[in-house]
Amino acid sequence: MEVRRHDIVIVGGGGAGLRAAIAAGEQFPDLSIGVVSKLYPMRSHTVAAEGGAAGVIKPNDSIEQHISDVISGSDWLADQDVVEIFVNQAPRELVQLEHWGCPWSRMPDGSVAVRPFGGMKTERTWYAADKTGFHMLHTLFQTAMKYGNVVRYDENFAVQLLVHEGRCQGVAALDFRTGEVFPVVAPAVILCTGGGGRIFAFTTNAVAKTGDGMALAYRAGVPLKDMEFVQFHPTGLPDTGILITEAARGEGGILVNKDGYRYLQDYDLGKPVDVNDPEHPRKSTMELGPRDRLSQAFVKEQAKGGTIQGKFGDYVHLDLRHLGAKRIHERLPFIVELCHEYVGLDPVRDLIPVRPVVHYMMGGVHTDLDGATPLPGLYAAGECACASLNGANRLGSNSLTELLVFGARAARAAVEFGRQNSALATEALAAQAADQQRQIQERFSRRGSEPIARLRQELNEAMEVGAAIERDGEGLQQACNKVAELKARLQDLRLTDHSTTFNTELPAALELENMIDVAECVVQSALARTESRGAHQRRDFPKRDDQQFLKHSLAYRTDAEPRIEYCDVTITKWPPKERHYG
């Protein structure tokens, strides 16, 4: 078995992973950087991000304002030192991307354009029409290609972190083409594996978003932080869950119930301004409130009977018609394309049916502001990480910027760590990888009785019911029980494909294992947090409880269910207040 050696190994080739690779590749031409990715990097789900990336750039905006928006958006669960770093570095990163060629939309004077986004009191979201993530990812991917010291392992699946004497020194990777598991070693590893929305049935997330990196870190003893906070985006297409970007509301789109009434005004999100009034859309109110509040308003409106019943669940309408054809085609071409292709509608003439959909995980691998995890040598960045920027609710358009800021920071910190700790226990690491190969072979040549798809579906249903927008103790307990049951049933998994050439069933099985671990952390952390904060709304504990829960949860792996501990939130200059929109 061949050992591949690098100075750092990055797992994941999405926005975070590529930004990390370029940061290291550019600044340290003498270093070799390995990028292990189960997808070709430009297929990563960053590609699907539509609306934009936040960063203060215009004279009417300020760093302080962005910081304050993030903190109140997070329901005070963001670490304020992390928020400050993020907001300060955001504009640099976005300009850097511009220099690499990102086709940001422009103002007539040639400067970059910005648009309003939910929960932001000033417009500061940079965008490339409504394919922002696509353009950012392709720009990063194409830029990364020019660095000869970035070595890609495309379509290789990280199956285990290689840890020796308390230090993470690489990963074992499964090569899809050969079926071989081999060690990729380096004195520092950065996980950039993205989120895990696929644990739910109805999600905007691609099939690859199965929380792999979270599960790998968790099994290596690293806690997963704030996993109970799952973001439901208020506007997904029923059935497919395809996202209709918040930018549609940033441009002035409105949400109406079955009577054409802007129901958000009944849920403490401010007063509607007429769509023809130049004041519309008023920032940080109504349709531009934060996502947690909008999705919760949907549930309440549904209870009141204001939503519309459909074949794929209840929905409301997103109305863009007043924006006019020109603006819609110019600013939201992808939305036009998606509506046309997948629901046969034209947003210029038709109302768009939408409902809340699982979108993003605020929680993830516990890191500090340099992406360092408690396990020496292991770093994490992007959606798989929780540096505590987003707290209990992420504001739209902060994630794309987060990938850049923390991808780059993690890379620099990882390089530095690697310099100080360059010795590698290569033989021991290779032995671990060989052992992993044996285990995988053994597990999957057993012919069990449980099909992957069945377990996955049962998991999805349990999460959808138990860990919904509104939760309660009883429902969460049931979900916990179900997940535990599924974990046991994993032992009896049935695999039918025993080929070593591009076997796609084996990775699906590995992903299922990862999803079950991640789901267990979500429901157990949610059960333990007996308060309501941000995206975590408990019917049985409807109030925020700063006394007990102004804290991050940390889920640690044990042989039974995870052990939940708590650590403090860093509060510097912005003491907790009531959140106020409208």
Partner: protein, 251 residues
Amino acid sequence: MADENAILEVFRYQPDQKSEPTFQRYEVPFHEEWVVLDALNYIKDHLDGTLSYRWSCRMGICGSCGMMVNGDPKLTCSVFLRDYHPQVMRVEPLRGFPVIRDLVIDLDDFMNKMTEVKAWMIPKEERSIEQGEYLQSPAQLARYRQYSTCINCTLCYAACPVYGRHTEFVGPAAIALAQRYNMDSRDGGYEERAETLFDEHGVWMCTFVGDCSRVCPKNVDPAAAIQQAKVSATKDFYRSLVPWGKRRTET
């Protein structure tokens, strides 16, 4: 609920079991709202776990799920069963590429081509972060924007008769990407890219059939990029003949 079935004939090739490809017939429930990819997923989940294919986003943007459907290159997450049914759907790997297994093609050649054409920004003038963004007017953006929307799905290669016979041809998407940067007001890399674009495997191999643009699911129009590159090269050639001629065509 579906009360009728749709029929797919799927290309199977498992080199570690059989050396010859075969077609396998599957029946899946017919749903109005199902895309062809949904049918493949149904097969994978319920009928035959050994079928291999690529997909990820299911919203026509990641570029993974290209296959031949009844002889035409398609993104299988963007074409519907109802577009074919009750016709049988014959699903094959994208034409013109080596097959790794079943519907999975080998992309190495395409990935190398993206690197060969230097599909990245080579700035005309350096600028520090402190100096802020390069100014670029909406009109300047519009000149290359369309080429920048290529999702690397390689449907255009599957459609290209030239690539089908000569895989040395740089091919539509890679040329479109090179043009994407050539046409960008911030870029100065035309000459560097010209080495690959205008060598014997470059734009001149194109016989202008235009199938690439016809099948492109994102309206990138790679055929236009190829034509445009040819024109700029021709201008360069004539200019190089006259002593006062400028080497580089302003793009």
